[in-house]
Symmetry: D3
Subunit: 128 residues, 6 copies
C-alpha cells in the first residue's frame, strides 16, 4: 500500500510542488481518505503510466475541466500543474480557447479567467 501512495506523491510533488501539505491539511478533519484516494488512484495508477507524458496529461485535464465548468478550484490547481509539467502559459491559454468550440464561450471565458488568476500569482502576465 505504502508503495502506491509514494508513487502518487512523486507525481504530485512535480505538479503541485509545495502546495501538497496545504491540500492534505484541508481534508484532515473531514475526509482524509479522499485525499489518500486521489494520491493512490489517479496520481499513482494513471499519471505514472508511460503511454502519455505528464505535460500532455495535464493539458488534457485543463481542457476537460474547462469544458466541464464545474470544477473551479481544481481547474486552477491543474493550470498550475500544467505549468509545472512543462506547458507554457501560451499553450495553456490556447487549449482553453479551443474549448469555446466544444463547450461554448462561457466555459472558455471562465477558463481564461482562472488562468489569469494563476498566472498573476506567478507573475506570468501578460502572456506573449
Amino acid at each position: 500500500m505504502e508503495d502506491r501512495f509514494e508513487k502518487g506523491m512523486n507525481i504530485l510533488k512535480i505538479t503541485n510542488g509545495d502546495k501538497i501539505e496545504e491540500i492534505f491539511k484541508e481534508f484532515e478533519d473531514i475526509a482524509p481518505d479522499l485525499a489518500r484516494f486521489i494520491v493512490e488512484f489517479p496520481y499513482s495508477e494513471i499519471y505514472t503510466r508511460e503511454e502519455v507524458d505528464l505535460k500532455t496529461r495535464e493539458l488534457c485535464t485543463v481542457a476537460a475541466l474547462t469544458a466541464m465548468g464545474t470544477a473551479g478550484p481544481q481547474l486552477k490547481d491543474h493550470i498550475g500543474g500544467a505549468l509545472n509539467a512543462g506547458n507554457s502559459p501560451k499553450e495553456i491559454v490556447e487549449i482553453i480557447i479551443q474549448m469555446s468550440a466544444y463547450a461554448g464561450f462561457p466555459a472558455a471565458i471562465n477558463g481564461v479567467m482562472a488562468a489569469k488568476e494563476v498566472f498573476e500569482e506567478k507573475n506570468l502576465l501578460p502572456v506573449k
Copy 2:
C-alpha cells in the same frame, strides 16, 4: 391549495428549521412564486410520500447535487437538511466521497468542502 402548501412546510420545518423565513425573504421581491412552487411541489408532493424515508431522501439529494456540481448553495442547504433528517456527518461525507467514482474527484472534493463549511457552523468538526 392551502393544504398542499402546509404539507410542504411541515417537511421544510424538519429539514431547514428556522432558516425558512430567511429563504422566503430572499425570493420576496423577485420571484415569490418560485418559493411557493418549491414548497408545493417537491416538499409537498414528493418528500411526503412514504415509499422512502426522509433520511434516505436527503442523502440521495446530497449525492445528486454533489455529482451535478452546479448547485453550491443548495448542496449546503441539503447537507444541513440531511443532518436534520437524521444522517450523521460521517454518513454524509461517505456518500459525497462515493460520488468521486461517478462524477470525478473535483465533484467529490467540492462536495466535501461544502460539508466542511456546514459542519463548521454547527461545531461538527472533526468528523469522526
Copy 3:
C-alpha cells in the same frame, strides 16, 4: 475582416452598452483573440441574422445559461443584455422560473439570484 468585427460590435453596443471596453480590457493581457472571436462569431454571424429578433435571442440565452448552471458571470451579462434588448424584468424572471422544470429548482434559484443582483444594480427591484 474589419467588417465582421464592426457588425458584431454594433450588436454588443445594444446588449452590453458601456461595459464593452471593460470586457475587452479583461482579456487584453491573456487572450485578446478570444474577445475578438466572440465579437466576430456569435455577435457578428449569429445575432445579426433576421430569423429571430434580438429580444427573443437574449431571452433564449438566459434560459440556456440558467439551465446549464455553469456560467454565472455570463448569465448576469445576458440578463443585462436581455433587459437592453427589450425584455422586462418580469419576462426574464418568468423564463428563469420556467427552467425549474427542465434543469431543476437549484438552477432556477441560482438564475433568480443572478437576476436579483443585476436588477438591484439597476434599481429594478421589486419586480412587479
Copy 4:
C-alpha cells in the same frame, strides 16, 4: 386538484396534440404520478402564466434542452411543441444554432439533428 390537472392538459393539447395519450401510457405501469406532476406543475402552474407567451416559452425550452445536451427525447418533443406553438422551422433552427456559442458546436449539431428528425416526420424539410 382536478382543476390544476385540467389547466395543464389544456396547454399540453396545444403543444403535444394527439401524442398525449401515448405519453401517459408510457408512464402507466411504472410512474403515473410523474406524468401527473408534469401536467400539474410546469404545464399548469408555469406555462399558463401570461408573463411570456407560449411561442416564446417553447423556443426558450428548445434553447435550454439543446444547451444541456442530456435530454434527447424531450428536446424532440419540445421541437414539436415549439412548432405547434407557432414557431417556424427556421426560427427553431436559428435558436439551436445560437446555442453553439453557449454550449459548443456538439450541442448545436445534436440539436439540429434532433430537429431534422422531427421536421422529417412532418414533411418540413428542406427548411427554407
Copy 5:
C-alpha cells in the same frame, strides 16, 4: 494487490451477479486496466466501508446518475445493482422521481424509462 481486487469483486458479485464476466469481456481488447480500476477503487475501497450500507449506497448512485443524465448504460447497471442490494422497484422509482426537483423532469423521465427497461427484463412490471 490481489486482495484489493478480491474485496471489490465480492461486492460486484452482489450488485452485478452473473453479468460481471460480460462486463470484463467488453474491456478486454481495449482497456482492461479500466475494468480493474473500477473493481479496485470504488468497489474495493469505497463500497466496502461500513459507514453506509450497500442498499443506501446503490440508491444514492441511482439518484446521482439520474441527475447527471450522461450515463445511460451505467444508470441501468446501477438500477439492477440497487435491486440486488435490497431496494424495491418502488423505492428506486421514488428516488428517480425525486430527481425531477433537482435536475428537472427530462432527467427524471429518462431515469424512469431506464428503470422500466431493467424492470421489464426482470418481470417487475407493473410497479405497485
Copy 6:
C-alpha cells in the same frame, strides 16, 4: 471570406478525411450555415494556430468530449480525428481512462466504448 473557409477545410481534410462531404450533406437541408461556421471558426481560426500542434489539440478535444459526456457522435468523430492527427490508439485510450478521475467512471467507460467502435471500423483492435 473564401480564404477563412479554405483554411478550415485544409485542417478538416487531415482530421476527417473523406468523411467531410458526408458531414456537409447532413446539414444541407436544415442548417448549412452551421457547417460553414464550424469550418470557419474552430477549424480555420483556432486549429490553424501554431501555439499547439494538431496531435495535441485533438487529444485535448477527446479528453473534453469524454468528460462532458453529452457529445457521443462528436466524440467518435474526434477519436477518428485524433488518430488521423498522429495519436496512437493507446494514447487515445489512455487519455480517456484519465478522465475517470475528473468526470467519473461512467464518462470514461462510455469514452472507451466510443473508441472501441471507431477502432473496430479501422481494424485497430486489440489495442496493444
